[in-house]
């Protein structure tokens, strides 16, 4: 058995290799954080931090971001849209998944087949006709065009259908005998049981909504209604910002922070969801 003679060199080597790889991977993010605090002169003259002149580090980029651009407005727009969309899509998907998993009703088969067929369909094929529809509804430049289609997810229904299948029928029947209404069967009994799945899907939906670019880019025209991805991408295109990369980096850094926070809150569920529900599918 090799386990008997623990090779200290092999273990140290393993840690060194993994740590170096991790460092390489997060270098762009480290660079981003450094760039956000550097002034324009130091941005490219020092690869990361100007060690000799730590007093050069500055919050000017953030100040200018607040002063010259509607950045915090975009941030507020993004937070509002993403939260609303995530809550709605998780609620509706879990309701639908519960219905498909725990009831036998007319049309159930058809619904399952229909959704199965649309799973692999690239959503981009819908862009032109969605644009036409939204245009005729008078929803151009309005958040309804983003939130209403965004509160539906076939993938979410599938995930919840799979997870809710594990809720024991006996439990539901016992609750019914005790006078529990159908809606409480979903909310108070089934949802807590599929908590890991809920956490994983919440994280996925949040990520998707927060980072969404193409559809909002088509629908939103007024710069004050922009979300962070569209706003920052538009800054990159402006000629005067060629020299102000620091501001752009400060904005990008702030745009990533909320996602990291949400990830830390939900990461246990996410990992659990990965190894239970999502992989079986």
């Amino acid at each position: 058995m090799t386990r008997g003679r623990t090779n200290i060199f092999a273990i140290t080597g393993l840690h060194v290799v993994v740590a170096l790889l991790a460092l390489v991977v997060i270098t762009p993010l480290l660079w981003l954080v450094c760039a956000a605090f550097k002034n324009g002169f130091d941005l490219f003259s020092y690869a990361f931090v100007p060690w000799g002149h730590l007093d050069h580090l500055t919050l000017d980029n953030f100040r200018m971001l607040a002063r010259e651009q509607p950045f915090f407005r975009w941030m507020a727009n993004s937070v509002f849209l993403t939260c609303l969309q995530t809550v709605l899509v998780v609620t509706f998907s879990s309701m639908g998944g519960f219905a498909l998993a725990k009831y036998r009703f007319f049309g159930r088969r058809l619904a399952m087949v229909l959704m199965g067929l649309t799973m692999l369909l690239p959503s981009q094929v819908l862009l032109p006709s969605m644009y036409e529809l939204v245009y005729h509804l008078g929803w151009m430049n309005s958040y309804a065009a983003i939130v209403v289609p965004g509160c539906m997810s076939v993938f979410g229904i599938f995930l919840f259908h799979q997870a809710m299948g594990g809720v024991p029928d006996e439990l539901l029947w016992a609750a019914r005998v005790d006078g529990c209404s159908e809606i409480r069967l979903w909310w108070e009994i089934s949802l807590p049981i599929v908590r890991p799945m809920t956490g994983a899907f919440t994280l996925m939906s949040f990520l998707g909504a927060w980072n969404s670019f193409l559809w909002p880019q088509i629908v939103l025209q007024d710069a004050r209604k922009f979300t962070l991805p569209i706003g920052l991408a538009s800054l990159l295109g402006l000629p005067e910002y060629q020299a102000h990369y620091g501001i752009l980096m400060a904005g990008t850094m702030l745009a990533i922070v909320p996602v990291v926070v949400v990830f830390f809150v939900l990461q246990k569920d996410f990992i659990a969801g990965l190894s239970s529900g999502a992989i079986k599918g």
């Binding site: 762009p28 819908l126 032109p128 006709s129």
Partner: protein, 294 residues
């Protein structure tokens, strides 16, 4: 009486639960899907001016050299992406799965963290990192004595620049799935292999690889579908199609014809070609891989 309301409640509950989803699905998925088939038979200038042209859009697509260029770029990206991403993700997962590794959760988070950064934000950062003259990558390459490559200006390297960003973004995602799969592999198999005196390589081939195969197939499929839908990364990185259309993708061409050019009909036809290509590639992969497994 109570019995009856009870039964009625149970009978109608599933429909009510599915109502919000179903309503949105019908109006914002099923209808646009059918409508886009119809729309692809029209030439349009914005949502108002439309002219029926039959199958002309599809015929034109077959001879549209820009479209085929977009296809070539997209397919090249997707294949290169899979060839690079999957082995790296598997290698990282194997390293992290070593039982003697301390602080596994911290490392796992480091590798996965890139996936939390949205494509647009990755593109904004890489637009500056890849800058030929001043960017960090150029500086690092010069430091190692390599010739600086202009990823953003040279059409020969533009797609590699996108690839670099794409692999950086998604490898941690693959790793986290593979790690979960590795941890689910039955440990008794390894102990049995130890008893049989199997070497490291044969353990990898005969136990580890079959154990993670479903996840590998899943990642190939996800990577293919995702690769074919590539848009944000190159579009933001190059503020368009790049030098000589070198990073033009299918979705970018759809976006440009439909929303910058205003021809929603032709854009719909491009969309349906994308559907067709994804169907062919993903079903083909499933078919080939099934045979390989058998």
């Amino acid at each position: 009486m109570a019995q009856r309301t009870w039964a009625a409640q149970q009978r109608w509950a599933p429909y009510l639960f599915l109502l919000p989803f179903g309503a949105v699905f019908a109006v914002f998925f099923a209808y646009p899907l059918g409508r886009s088939l119809v729309l692809s038979l029209y030439n349009t200038a914005g949502p108002r001016a439309q002219r029926f042209v039959g199958l002309h859009n599809y015929r034109f697509l077959l001879t549209d050299r820009v479209f085929w260029l977009a296809c070539a770029n997209t397919v090249a990206y997707t294949i290169a992406f899979l060839i690079i991403q999957i082995p790296i993700a598997l290698g990282l997962a194997l390293l992290l799965n070593n039982p003697r590794l301390r602080a596994r959760n911290i490392f796992r988070f480091c590798f996965f963290s890139t996936y939390l950064v949205g494509q647009v934000f990755v593109a904004v950062v890489f637009a500056i990192l890849l800058d030929g003259q001043q960017g960090l990558l150029g500086q690092a390459m010069r430091w190692f004595g390599l010739p600086a490559v202009d990823f953003l200006g040279d059409p020969r390297f533009a797609l590699s620049g996108v690839l670099l960003a794409g692999v950086w973004l998604a490898t941690g995602f693959g790793m986290i799935y593979l790690l979960a799969a590795l941890q689910a592999v039955d440990q008794e198999l390894y102990e049995a292999a130890d008893v049989d005196g199997a070497g490291k390589w044969s353990r990898f081939i005969h136990i580890t690889l079959p154990g993670v195969l479903p996840v590998l197939l899943f990642l190939v499929l996800v990577g293919t579908v995702g690769g074919f839908q590539l848009f944000e990364l190159p579009y933001v990185l190059f503020q368009g199609a790049g030098p000589n259309y070198s990073v033009l993708t299918i979705v970018m061409y759809l976006f440009m014809t439909g929303f910058e050019g205003g021809n929603l009909g032709y854009a719909s036809a491009i969309g349906w070609m994308l559907v067709l290509l994804i169907a062919i590639f993903s079903l083909g992969q499933v078919w080939i891989l099934r045979r390989v497994v058998k």
